[in-house]
């Protein structure tokens, strides 16, 4: 009985230690990827998994591991959300997709559009790098892949985004430039 109680107490301590590390970063992670009103429930979901799978939490990488759990929670949440959207559209209920912040400048809006154009996995890699400030090795842990694959992918996405932004910066707004001839023969 005493031993059971001691085990429970030590498990709770271990949980609190992990929570201390991941609690606030997880709120930001979820806030970046879901509607504000869903963050609380999603956080509950993630923490419950952390509690149940405490033994699986890597000692030197609790945060990327927790992001990985959150990512799966979000994917499930999103799948079910798409279902709800279709259902509400069918019954004619007013439903609006959650919107992001108001973009204050055309440059920010352009960057946002460039992000939107990325395939989902690329977008997640760049967000984990820019917003969560993770290293390729940590991004690999979130996405369950290798650091090398992340580095290659990250480099490619960075070049693509930087190109798009420089092009955007050069083109006066509302004017599209066809650079294809210029690009050729270089």
């Amino acid at each position: 009985m005493e031993a059971t109680r001691a085990r429970t107490a030590s498990r709770q301590d271990a949980f609190r230690a992990v929570v201390g590390e991941v609690y606030e970063p997880l709120q930001r992670y979820l806030r970046r990827r879901s509607a504000p009103e869903d963050v609380d429930d999603l956080l509950d979901e993630v923490l419950l998994v952390v509690w149940r799978r405490l033994e699986d939490v890597p000692a030197d990488g609790a945060l990327p591991w927790a992001y990985g759990v959150a990512r799966r929670c979000l994917a499930n949440h999103r799948r079910a959300g798409q279902r709800r959207t279709r259902l509400l559209q069918r019954v004619g209920a007013g439903f609006r997709e959650p919107t992001g912040p108001d973009w204050t400048s055309e440059a920010d809006a352009a960057l946002h559009r460039a992000l939107d154009r990325l395939p989902e996995r690329d977008r997640e890699v760049i967000r984990l790098w820019a917003w969560e400030r993770l290293e390729p090795r940590e991004i690999a842990a979130v996405l369950d892949t290798t650091p090398n694959a992340v580095s290659v992918r990250l480099g490619r996405i960075q070049r693509r985004l930087a190109d798009e932004l420089s092009r955007q910066d050069r083109v006066p707004s509302g004017q599209e430039r066809d650079g294809s001839c210029e690009e050729h023969g270089r």
């Binding site: 609690y23 979901e45 949440h77 799948r79 279902r83 820019a130 932004l165």
Partner: protein, 202 residues
């Protein structure tokens, strides 16, 4: 543009840039953590030991759909006239909203193995609120040839993100009188079949 410059540009559009977070030390955070720590970490039914009081179900996602389905109940009845081997009383199951708890976890053979009812079948008729499946294989809990799933009248039968289509194969499991969805039931993909095989055949 250097990588650092790009990162700065991206940081400027970070949706959580000026969002306040709650530290784990506030009283509401502490009560949240206490609540979680009072759930049994070894449960295999994917719900807190005190559902309802413990937390709101997450499945806001399919809230509209689930609300209707729960109101009518989803009844999975074993047997049917055509059933070649129907025996014993029908098994009745309801669709519980708190099953959304399962939505968080990747489908796990260990959890699936605890489901008392599991089968592979093909949808032979989908008529509004009723889906009839011809059972190809029982993994657990039955021997009937036909399974009928009833949903609320006027609704197509739906279980978290997929609908039943005639001629398509599905894997369906249920526990504690409840159809398990959130990945534990769904179209019979090779991936899901492998998990079923691992859960019930190994």
């Amino acid at each position: 543009m250097t990588a650092d410059e790009l990162r700065d540009r991206l940081a400027a559009i970070d949706p959580a840039h000026d969002v306040a977070t709650e530290p784990p030390t506030t009283s509401s955070s502490r009560s949240r953590l206490e609540r979680i720590m009072h759930t049994d970490p070894n449960v295999t039914t994917d719900r807190p030991s005190t559902p309802g009081a413990a937390r709101r179900p997450l499945l806001l996602a399919a809230a509209a759909a689930v609300a209707v389905a729960v109101a009518g109940g989803v009844v999975l009845t074993r047997g049917g006239d055509e059933s070649p081997v129907a025996s014993g009383p029908p098994v009745e199951l309801t669709l519980g909203a708190s099953d959304a708890m399962a939505s968080c976890l990747p489908v796990d053979a260990e959890i699936l193995a605890d489901m008392p009812v599991a089968f592979a079948g093909t949808a032979t008729a989908v008529e509004g609120d009723t889906v009839t499946l011809t059972v190809e294989e029982w993994y657990a809990g039955g021997d009937a040839g036909t399974v009928v799933i009833h949903a609320q009248s006027g609704m197509e039968a739906l279980i978290d993100g997929f609908t039943f289509a005639e001629g398509e194969a599905y894997l369906v499991s249920a526990a504690e009188g409840t159809v398990s969805f959130c990945g534990f039931s769904g179209p019979a993909t090779d991936e899901l079949r492998a998990v079923y095989d691992e859960a019930f055949r190994s």
